[in-house]
């Protein structure tokens, strides 16, 4: 009896949707072993990672607070990944969006007006788009890899933010801390669940996911994106302009990341600080893949990764797990997912040599 691997004629849809669960299961099992080796009680640690954070209403709301930015960014990135456009600089576009939107909040400091928040969000979207336009221009005009340029721009954006918060935007009454003033009331996003921090960004994330789903499944542009990604030659033959798709994907993902930047500074943070996020722009890459690059799949994927953030913090408090554990598990989850993707395209077949026929009776299928 031997194992043989053969390619499937078509990808297995069942496996496509099963593998995320398999990957989560394998990650949890590995976590169990790792915790044991590190001298933590595995069950206790897993419980404080995955269960106790969401036993309260406040915990559930926090899950939404962290999932909203991840989902919004990941939806944009996933559309690009479908077209083979690898924007990995969402963190930088988020930062520029936060600077653009936050700039309006600081400029209108102390003012009232219902126009301020929409203006901030618009500025955030445009800021992220403008920043993503740089890799788009370099890619379409000079064939420079958007992977490297978008990532380099992230480092530049972080340094630019630091110039602002250490310099002109520093809070005059902030005792010299590198942070801006707290935004005034008109520049703070509304809360949707009283008594918690859950803000309107959660609803925006859901709306973005649904809109992206419609775009990808019901529009010609969505079709073009998929063809450009999967069959560039066919796309050229059909007359789909690749450059247009590159621009579209980068502007879309950059704009969404910029929007998230604005919402983060005007929501949970309430001011501009040097470290805006715990790496949402990068973690969103994991979320996009875990959600199978499908706008609706990204919603539960975002919730799960958000849970790993909250769970990581919680396990830090409850059992003293080091902070790096969260990143480790997020990376591991993506590994297992990519590995189990093998099952989507290949099948493992049990073959028995004809001579050694089994003597046991085989149950009828």
């Amino acid at each position: 009896m031997s194992l043989r691997i053969e390619p499937r004629r078509e990808i297995s849809w069942r496996m496509l949707y099963l593998t995320p669960f398999l990957a989560v299961l394998l990650t949890v099992m590995t976590g169990f072993v790792v915790f044991m080796f590190m001298g933590y009680s595995p069950l206790q640690t897993l419980k404080s990672f995955f269960i106790s954070p969401i036993m309260t209403g406040y915990g559930l709301a926090e899950l939404g607070v962290k999932a909203a930015p991840l989902v919004t960014i990941a939806v944009g990135l996933a559309i690009g990944f479908r077209a083979n456009v690898w924007n990995i600089g969402a963190e930088g576009q988020l930062t520029m969006g936060a600077i653009a939107g936050g700039g309006i909040a600081l400029a209108t400091f102390g003012q009232e007006g219902s126009w301020i928040l929409p203006a901030m969000m618009l500025a955030g979207i445009l800021g992220g788009m403008a920043y993503a336009a740089i890799p788009a221009f370099l890619k379409t005009r000079f064939e420079v890899s958007e992977i490297l340029t978008s990532l380099m721009l992230t480092y530049i954006a972080t340094l630019f933010l630091s110039i602002l918060v250490y310099g002109p935007w520093k809070d005059p009454e902030g005792y010299g801390f590198p942070q801006s003033r707290m935004f005034s009331e008109a520049a703070i996003v509304p809360i949707v669940w009283e008594g918690t921090r859950l803000h309107i960004g959660a609803l925006i994330a859901l709306a973005v996911a649904v809109a992206a789903w419609v775009l990808m499944t019901r529009s010609i542009i969505g079709f073009e994106i998929k063809v450009v990604g999967q069959a560039p030659a066919a796309a050229r033959f059909a007359g789909f302009a690749r450059n247009r798709i590159v621009w579209l994907c980068l502007l879309l993902s950059g704009g969404l990341a910029g929007l998230v930047g604005t919402i983060e500074v005007s929501g949970p943070i309430g001011q501009i600080i040097p470290n805006l996020t715990p790496g949402y722009g990068f973690t969103a890459i994991i979320v996009a893949f875990l959600g199978r690059l499908h706008p609706l799949g990204i919603v539960p994927a975002g919730l799960l990764i958000a849970l790993s953030y909250i769970g990581g913090e919680n396990a830090q408090v409850e059992v003293g797990l080091p902070q790096g554990a969260t990143g480790l598990f997020q990376g591991m989850l993506l590994f297992f997912l990519l590995a189990s993707d093998f099952l989507v395209r290949y099948r493992i077949v049990l073959t028995r040599p004809a001579a050694a026929a089994p003597r046991r009776e085989v149950a009828p299928a």
Binding site: L148, M152, L159, I286, L328, G331, L334
Partner: protein
């Protein structure tokens, strides 16, 4: 400028260039074999923390360097299993490797933050090290600096002059042809990826043992990505990579010196942006210039290959 200024400047340029050269030369070999590994940053970080931990606990620097190389190779092996055996997407897997490496190194290094070690000792060559000017530059460096140059020369010789090097390039330029002649493309790519892991681990070791002898989370600060840019800049030629690494070392040091001299009226952060801006500018010039057609990217770079069974 007098010699007493020039020598320290050249020394710091060398120390800034060495990690870029080490990481770049391994990636160059992997890419010549047709594999795009975006996980350099992760492998460097794990190499850095492994080297630091061993040096801190045992004080044995040779062992530290060896363990860093093995740690890098181990991460590269994960990448190889995923992309070569399980045919996963190389871009996605490389990103996963970087995220994994950042997390793993932060977790493993949590206990070492803030504890100092003595820097990696320089090798003294009696007589030669005391020579004026060339003595301190050529004959008073640590083992990793010599290794980085030796590896580069070795790779030049290997790719150009050896049969194995030609086979490796064949795998990168036409995997199907190499396979049909009877070469084991997957095995050769595994070896190339592992070599990349080893040199990335060494690059990390250089950062945490010699460049700044301490462990800080995320201490690579994008050097792995700059090394990736340098491989494109070099148009996959080792000698140009050497030049590129030293050019970028120069840019990094220029920025530090200007900051040290009290700046030139711009915030320090603007100067810190220089290496990243330079990477973008150089990549653009390389891709846009008249030599565009001679870029010579390996034809099968990043494409999955699985022999039919």
């Amino acid at each position: 400028m007098s010699l007493d200024i020039v020598v320290p400047v050249i020394l710091t340029v060398i120390s800034a260039a060495t990690p870029l050269l080490l990481a770049g030369i391994g990636e160059l070999v992997a890419e010549r074999a047709g594999v795009l590994n975006l996980g350099i940053e992760g492998m460097m970080l794990v190499g850095a923390v492994a080297a630091f931990a061993v040096a801190h606990v045992t004080g044995n620097y040779m062992l530290a360097i060896l363990v860093a190389a093995m740690a890098g190779a181990l991460l590269a092996l994960i990448f190889g299993v995923l992309t070569l055996t399980l045919v996963s997407n190389q871009v996605a897997t490389g990103l996963a490797l970087t995220l994994f490496g950042i997390g793993l190194s932060a977790l493993a290094g949590a206990g070492f933050v803030g504890s100092p070690i003595a820097p990696l000792p320089k090798l003294e060559i009696p007589g030669l090290s005391e020579l004026p000017f060339i003595g301190p530059i050529l004959f008073h460096q640590d083992v990793l600096v010599y290794l980085s140059v030796a590896l580069t020369l070795g790779v030049i010789w290997f790719l150009k002059r050896t049969r194995a090097g030609m086979i490796l390039r064949a795998c990168g330029d036409s995997d199907v042809s190499a396979h049909s002649i009877g070469y084991d493309v997957i095995r050769i790519r595994y070896l190339a990826v592992l070599f990349g892991g080893v040199t990335s681990g060494l690059a990390g070791a250089y950062l945490s043992l010699a460049y700044t002898p301490m462990w800080v989370e995320n201490m690579t600060a994008g050097r792995g990505w700059i090394a990736l840019g340098l491989v494109v800049f070099s148009s996959w030629r080792p000698l140009r990579l050497l030049g590129g690494a030293y050019l970028f070392g120069g840019v990094t040091i220029l920025q530090l010196y200007v900051q040290g001299m009290g700046g030139i009226g711009v915030p320090a952060q603007v100067l810190s942006m220089l290496p990243y801006i330079a990477t973008i500018v150089v990549l653009t010039i390389i891709s846009a210039g008249p030599w565009r057609g001679r870029l010579d990217a390996p034809a099968c770079l990043g494409k999955p290959f699985r022999p039919a069974t």
